[in-house]
């Protein structure tokens, strides 16, 4: 009976504290005010684990088809480059203003600091899942609602080659026909 009362007290106190925090307005949701290191770590680990689990059984097709690069290139330029940048660009209004900051996809996997360096296949699976489903509260849209899998894989194929592209190559591959 004592334990039950104690448990009830913990639940009531917990709910009360959460409700007070929620409605008091003390939580700063401004994107120009970063999370504390602990909250950032908590959110990032949760996100990475979720994507890893959700994407683990995705079958990666052949991404070396030149047609895929052409299809994915045009889509990347119009849908992704303003946040994820293009060769020769180090920042944009979106990359500066968004929080968490969108990853710079012109950098190779190895150049991304503070991230787990996965192999090509894992990276492709992850990219496909993220493009298709988006990420909650991060400004990453779920492109799968309006784009079929073939088009999303084409974007993955393009993103895979993006860190190796020069500005001239990028311009040709992403130009509208």
């Amino acid at each position: 009976m004592r334990i039950l009362k104690l448990l009830l007290l913990v639940v009531v106190l917990g709910t009360g504290t959460a409700t007070t925090i929620m409605y008091s307005g003390i939580v700063n949701v401004a994107a120009d005010e970063p999370h504390s290191d602990f909250v950032y770590w908590l959110l990032e680990e949760t996100r990475e684990s979720s994507i890893k689990k959700a994407a683990q059984n995705i079958k990666v097709p052949d991404l070396e088809d030149p047609e895929m690069l052409l299809m994915g290139g045009t889509d990347y330029e119009f849908m992704c480059s303003s946040c994820h940048l293009k060769p020769g660009q180090s920042e944009s209004d979106m990359s500066i203003g968004l929080y968490p900051a969108p990853p710079n996809l012109t950098l190779s996997n190895e150049e991304h600091v503070g991230h787990e360096h996965e192999n090509d296949e894992q990276a492709s699976r992850k990219s496909f899942w993220v493009i298709k489903h988006g990420i909650k509260a991060s400004a990453m849209p779920a492109w799968g609602k309006t784009h079929d899998d073939e088009r999303i894989w084409a974007m993955v194929a393009f993103i895979k080659r993006l860190p190796t592209l020069t500005q001239e190559q990028y311009q040709i591959l992403t130009a509208v026909e």
Binding site: E67, Q169, Q171, V176
Partner: protein, 109 residues
């Protein structure tokens, strides 16, 4: 009397500087982020910069670039639809006009 005047002047200058400096800084950031920077233009591929000597033709990127440029070249050829052209167009005068243009260009140089 003089010191009072200098003090009031210094205060006024400080006030003006406090207003002007942030205002100027803000207006400069506003021009740096001009709305035209956000406009995406549908550009054609600039194939003139393609350096064939450095290209590995087995590389998917090189193959894709070649495809894009060939398609673009074919399209620009095909855009001149002769069937829709005026049949009364006098082709005999065209050569003369071309010659005149090149003559003028040579004179200008």
């Amino acid at each position: 009397m003089k010191t009072v005047l200098i003090k009031t002047l210094t205060k006024k200058v400080t006030k003006i500087a406090l207003v002007l400096i942030p205002a100027l800084t803000l207006s400069m950031t506003a021009t740096a982020h001009d709305p035209s920077m956000h406009v995406k233009k549908a550009e054609k591929a600039d194939c003139s910069k393609m350096d064939h000597s450095k290209m590995d033709m087995k590389d998917p990127v090189a193959m894709a670039m070649m495809k894009k440029c060939m398609k673009q070249a074919e399209k620009s050829k095909g855009q001149m639809d002769h069937s829709k052209m005026d049949k009364n167009m006098d082709h005999s005068t065209m050569k003369k006009i071309d010659d005149k243009i090149s003559e003028n260009e040579q004179h200008n140089h």
